[in-house]
Amino acid sequence: MANRCVPLVLLACGSFNPITNQHMRLFELARDHLHSTGQYQVVGGIVSPVSDGYGKQGLVLAKHRIAMAKLALKSSNWVTVDEWESQQPDWTETVVTMRYHYQRILKEYEQRSTGMHTNSSSNATPLSSPPPQLKLLCGADFLDTFKIPGLWQDEHVEEVAGRFGLVCVSRGRLQPERAVHDSDTLSRHQQNIFLVREWVRNDTSATEVRRALRRGLSVKYLIPDSVIEYIHQHNLYTEDSERRNKGTVLRPLTKQAQQPVNSLDD
């Protein structure tokens, strides 16, 4: 019997400032969970660091965040780093990043399946594997951001949850079920939202890592050695770097505030 599993690519958007072992654990946990459903074959993972235009406090330059993510994922045979989002001059809505990646993945898939048709000379019509899906991989705290006024446009939430889908790994004591329940949009697309329970509590966050680095404390075994080396070489996280964008309003908040006007113009 042919594999009827739906091929799936996981996309993680975020600051990755810096990437931590916990970020990479999310991918591993999500893949194990999706495979255990018997419905999906996870064929890839993408780490997409946000652009400098995001305006988050303490965000170091994208080129460094990209370099660190690449070092960290050097030893992974399925998760890769993509620079597209980070290279956009302005912050990109997550849904736009998803559309970009989905188009790219679909194109690859179509090329591959037409390639199979031309190659197969005999009667064996290639079993057209179902088209790949793209889902957004996130931590449980991410679901709560949907509630923050002005951060998300309703139709974007609709598209992320409805058209693509979410894989959400619960961390600590957060209750992702609650966040889904509280949102009409999210509960409407419940069947497209996969909640992965992380049984081992691990509160490692990039914020904690930066704090330890500023204070000269060890971050070994929280982030890969190669990333630690890179951080020291470039003296990346200091009190100065933490003041970057201080007092700046997060770009989604200003960008989205203009949007309703734009849509009236349309």
Binding site: E28, D32, W199, V200, R201, T204, E208, K220
Partner: protein, 274 residues
């Protein structure tokens, strides 16, 4: 000179290390940061001492594998080492004896000004420099101080019947000292308060608070491995590879010692009944 008062310190961690996890390694990093921050200590070396097979803990795989994994895990550390003395003993050795053994080793090393350990050259040199750097200030010949590094669970196990001999606890805490990693939710201070012996030696007990909770346990790792789930980023990559190569943790290996009484319980229960 302020350096006069800095004591050089070696941290010893005893346990199953079945398998060693990033959490075990983090404990060393947290302890060193904390102790050096007090301005009183310079942590010159960490020793991981896996327990011998004679401990008879359920699911405990052969010492040779646990030793090798610990070695692989510490390859990239310039101060944490692995010692095989304890795990090569045919029978389980009381922790107090292990601490005593390492203290004697340190003493004789200081006398001979020679490191008896089999650490790799670079690591050895770095550790030698650590010793010399401090001892030249201290002008001491009695070697560095040794403390037992543990999680809050070990501190709490002191209260469990037949797990520890009281004089052993007194020796470990009174003569050497304890560094205990704690986290929100556990109440080690209350535990010390409730034990007259621990309270007596409270000044030898160093509490290190771990602000970032991390519940990775070897038990959890073994469970994930039995179920074919990923353990990447919970253990160092070389350890993950070693486990896969040797096919180490299975439903079968978890049944090892399933019906056997833990060595300390056996020893102390017999002793108290005879």
């Amino acid at each position: 000179m302020e350096a006069h008062n800095i004591t050089s310190l070696v941290l010893l961690a005893c346990g199953s290390f079945n398998p060693i996890t990033n959490m075990h390694l983090r404990m060393f990093e947290l302890a060193r940061d904390h102790l050096e921050d007090t301005g009183q200590y310079r942590v010159v070396k960490g020793i991981i001492s896996p327990v011998s097979d004679g401990y008879k803990k359920k699911g405990l795989i052969e010492a040779s594998h646990r030793l090798e994994m610990a070695r692989l895990a510490t390859e990239n550390s310039d101060w944490i080492t692995v010692d095989s003395w304890e795990c090569l003993q045919p029978e389980w050795v009381e922790t107090a004896k292990v601490v005593r053994h390492h203290h004697e080793e340190l003493l004789s090393a200081a006398r001979n000004n020679d490191d008896v350990d089999t650490v790799k050259h670079t690591k050895k040199r770095r550790i030698d420099e650590n010793y010399l750097g401090v001892s030249s200030h201290q002008k001491r010949r009695d070697g560095p101080q040794l403390m037992l590094l543990c999680g809050a669970d070990v501190l709490e196990s002191f209260g469990k019947p037949n797990m520890w001999k009281q004089e052993d606890i007194a020796e470990i805490v009174g003569r050497y000292g304890l560094v205990c990693i704690t986290r929100s939710g556990s109440e080690p201070n209350k535990f010390i308060h409730q034990s007259d012996m621990l309270w007596k030696y409270r000044k030898n007990i160093h509490m290190v608070h771990e602000w970032v909770a991390n519940d990775v346990s070897a038990t959890h790792v073994r469970r994930a491995l039995r179920r074919g789930q990923s353990v990447r980023y919970l253990l160092p990559d070389p350890v993950v590879h070693y486990i896969q190569e040797c096919d180490l943790y299975s439903a079968e290996s978890e049944q090892k010692n399933a019906d056997v009484v833990l060595a300390p319980l056996q020893r102390y229960t017999d002793a108290s009944s005879s």
